[in-house]
Subunit: 253 residues, 6 copies
């Protein structure tokens, strides 16, 4: 169910136990071959599939396309909320929903750079409402919701984790909007990885990639794209089913 | 031209004299009969028409649907950036565009509540970049861009100015998405106006309207909707033509 | 009645239905011929006349001479609160008055640059106290309180709206403090207007006027000054009478 | 010399070695017998005398009557900038003056509650401009500028330090505006002093004084008032002479 | 090498290629059986061992014991920087070190609650200094620096990841300060885990544990404590060796 | 009693009338001859002596070594919280303690640069909790707690007030850690004093001292160090006894 389409009395009449999902993505460079709106397009498609399955059991707000993308700002076209503004914005939207009486909030994320501020935001939010015992405040990234770890062998992809404008993302945009994909077959891969892992390292994209992508776009195919969408939509649906069936009080639900 | 669809090298190759238009609207209650996304839907349609006309001579960012709507927060479903966060967000997006080298920025607005913070934001922005002489920083509301004052007689509307979920907005949503409009013919009008005008008065929507609309939704028709879209698209196009033909330096252009 | 002159027990004993007026102006360049304190001097005179008429029916705080004047900072002598500080300051003063129990607050403004932040401040204030139904929070500029639109023909001025260090302001300072007016008869007029109107445009004064004034100071006379003061004082008085007679609850009062 | 009266070209032509004095005071309760504007009235009088003596060798801005007075807010009529806003405001005004090229800034203070934030502000200011070697940034309270410590025996006062609405302040208001002083001869003294001195203690006025004064207003006379004004004006003048004759570079001047 | 013990000329003479390590921990409840300073004591011991090994090749600042512990504030004795203040503090300390010319900064962390804000801080820091190509900005948690994933079988612990006041932490405090450990053998374990993993969930400690610990303190022994210290010191040393041998420019070092 | 060593149930069982002392110092340059940690080492020693005397009648938090030291940042090795962050941090720690129910808070200070922000913080804190009548919020500097003014003749020191890395501090570090003191006998004294006293003046250390010290380190001896510690510990103990015996309600206690 999409909040955009409802008039307020319909929201007013709703059970406040319904999960509200706030899709958050980005508007940032995705290499020479993918459009700036890639993250938002991909999450929008995941949401389209998931919301179709869940129907009236989950309420989706519009997708927040402005994300935490300052690390991509050296590439023209990138738009980004300043870091603290992004924190304020996530907090603000969540406060709106709490004010309306909702108790199960899920930021459903489609951009790696949103993960840290998103987790910071749900932390801050929980502390401000620390006396409440009926809240479920979650931040979840759509490609990380599989229960197993590591790659699903049957996907047929070589990458085993998300990169940036990589095999995975390029495949999915090929599936969604092939006319927006520039020739990608001859693009050289850029290896992922931070040699100081598992430490967190401050970086800008230029530190790691002159063209802007990280991973192996040349491996992308439309079939992989469809398989990835199916997998991610299925995993996100299963995750939201757990939110729907939470008992509303306890930690373990 | 839509920034969403471009890869960054295409932006990099672009003349920085092109105007960049940031559509800003809202996600807020629109009475018993219109959907929460009304302002964003209407501006999206205006942008669709205007961008079609201007083609490659103007660059549109995605529409920022989160606006300054705290005054509607008593009506469930409204989402709003906190007032200072909204200022920060507009400033932040504009700073991104300046960092990319663009010089002509237009916030094209579709929500009355964004006007004051939008004007505050362009003021702050100009002061921070006060040594620049090549900037054109504008905030413009789509229904206020007519050169004459007062209503255009040939529109056939009774209202002579924008309300909220009113004759005008209801007509336009009827034109765009009639399936999202609840029966509106018997809704009682709520008179607009602030008895302390021309003073600015702090208000929340509940001060003025229990159902949430201001104006005369019962007068709406699909034909009025189309005429309004034509008028607003034409006026916005003419306005942006002035931005395109600005000489790039002087006050008068 | 002036708050400055009272001891606190007198305020404590007062009805909290009395309007409290906070005069806000500026300290900024006014061209080659007028003193930096022009806006504050003019508003002080308007307040002097209005408070004399209203007597004990309205309570005036001291005039806040520091305003939102960053756009004039290229001209030495201008003093200005940074934009966000000005918002905080107006909010802070209003919160003081609410804490003391007053319900009808009027910022009476004498500087164009204060209008947007002043409106932003009353918006923020109303939202923070959104559960109250007994508040009247207003921001009003003294030269905009006439009920009709356009110039009053009998004033004999050529300008039909306020400029800056213009025919109107120069005339009024001539009436108040002619010894502070440098020769103005041969100053060339600077046309007002923003060619991108009705859009709001970010500007600094240097964008528009090398000498600092906007309008036609050469047309100023002491007689016009007195007529303007009479008109503005009368209009402000009438406006405050409406505040005094507000019913204390409803939107329409 | 008063900045209020000058047009900007006059300021532009000025030597930037002239000290600029920003008088800062307050608008706060002063017991049952003195007006709310007491601190500002007293400092205004000191400034009047000092500026008369110094003539063109010092430039005075208008007096900032809004101070750091939150500790008096339980007494109606008190107006106060919130603590951080007050810091921002002092910083902002000083930045304006530095932007105009002035190098010797003196906040001349007339309210005890401004001392800590005033010192914090000049600290912050110096750190932000730490590479400069030509700045003299001072915060000085008018009643603390005597070179000796303790009371001057020839003043004939019993109090040896400033209180609040006390012998000293009441005497000076008696000298300035006796019609604003309520009968004070029978007011019981409130002893000054913090039993945890020399530690700094967080307090509100209600902690210390139900009527609002601290000290001995019953001892006030108009003659003491004149003697205090003479002493304070003389000391402030001598202090500003040291600022004027500073060598412009070294610590010791 | 410890910064605490040096005089500034010694720092001034140092190569700025030396890594500077800022140990960050916490002061928060650790169940019924461990002292509030647990996290800081443990990290202090790790630092003691690591700094002894590295000698003059690494520079350690004092340990910042105030951390991001708001989620523990329902348990008396917990001290915590507010979330945004903690971000500001980490940013501020890093800015100090950059101002002194250091290029390799490592926040070495000993508290789970610091991870998200620590990563946010290094992100913000890198963006502010985005033009620099010689910086290595890291945030690393001492118990997560092993190259393999999962538990080291030869440690003999049952827990395979860090809890809170758990088998691991209790063992280490037993090794360091057994007199500060209350009887722990009969404490019931509290299972770790967030049933909505891998989503991030806002929580306070009370959501998960009435006594305050998470994990299995009853399994703790002093021998396990020593083995854990050896492992963690060795891993942190190896990690810092990689920082020392970084080539100073490239991503891969 | 040291908070570090307690488990939370012990704190929970404690009387909330016990004073909580938060030692605050600094990490900043102390000339060519003293270590960067000087202020923290000295305060730690004072606390060690005082806490030993007071036993269970006072509760000490760990020492906050990061202080307000931006004025020393030109000397490498100095670490400092940005000015506003330091205010936020002191406020935050105090709020933690109030949340835990404590009512008597003492910031015990060992760095001159903390005095103004410390006083600002307790001011802000008191105002936020202005309805409370049971709070005692203090900020006290350990070398200023003597009841008499001026030097104690029997100390045998030449300096009569605290400098920086001076006779007093050098003597005390000699007493504590002679191996950390570089040869000091031939260091030239740097006279203290601000020629614009009693005005507060914005300064950085470089304005006043190239080597970094202020005062007369060449006069230091280990015997003076011990005498100073005894004096300061005794005075701080006596001061805290007054806090302990405060009646819990009234101003005078």
């Amino acid at each position: 169910m999409h909040l955009t389409d409802l008039a307020w009395p319909r929201v007013d009449a709703m059970s406040r136990d319904i999960p509200v999902i706030v899709p958050v993505a980005a508007m940032e460079q995705h290499g020479h071959h993918l459009p700036l709106f890639t993250d938002s397009m991909l999450l929008r498609e995941v949401v389209r599939r998931v919301s179709g399955t869940l129907g009236d059991r989950a309420l989706f707000t519009p997708l927040l396309w402005i994300g935490n993308s300052d690390h991509h700002l050296d590439f023209p076209g990138t738009l980004s909320a300043p870091p603290r503004t992004y924190l304020d914005l996530l907090n603000g939207i969540a406060e709106n929903l709490l004010q309306h009486g909702f108790k199960r909030l899920v930021f459903l994320n489609g951009h790696g750079g949103n993960e840290v501020p998103g987790r910071q935001a749900v932390f801050e939010l929980r502390q401000r409402h620390r006396q409440r015992t009926d809240l479920l405040l979650l931040f979840a990234t759509y490609w990380s919701l599989g229960t197993g770890s590591g790659p699903a062998a049957d996907l047929g992809t070589e990458q085993t984790e998300m990169g940036h404008a990589c095999e995975w993302e390029t495949s999915m945009i090929l599936r969604l909007a092939p006319h927006l994909v520039a020739p990608h077959q001859n693009i050289s891969p850029v290896p992922p990885g931070n040699p100081f892992q598992p430490a967190s390292r401050g970086w800008t994209t230029r530190d790691r990639s002159a063209p802007g992508h990280i991973g192996s776009p040349h491996l992308a195919t439309v079939e992989k794209g469809e398989r990835l969408f199916q997998k991610f939509a299925q995993e996100a649906t299963a995750f939201l089913e757990r939110v729907i069936t939470w008992d509303g009080r306890s930690w373990n639900g």
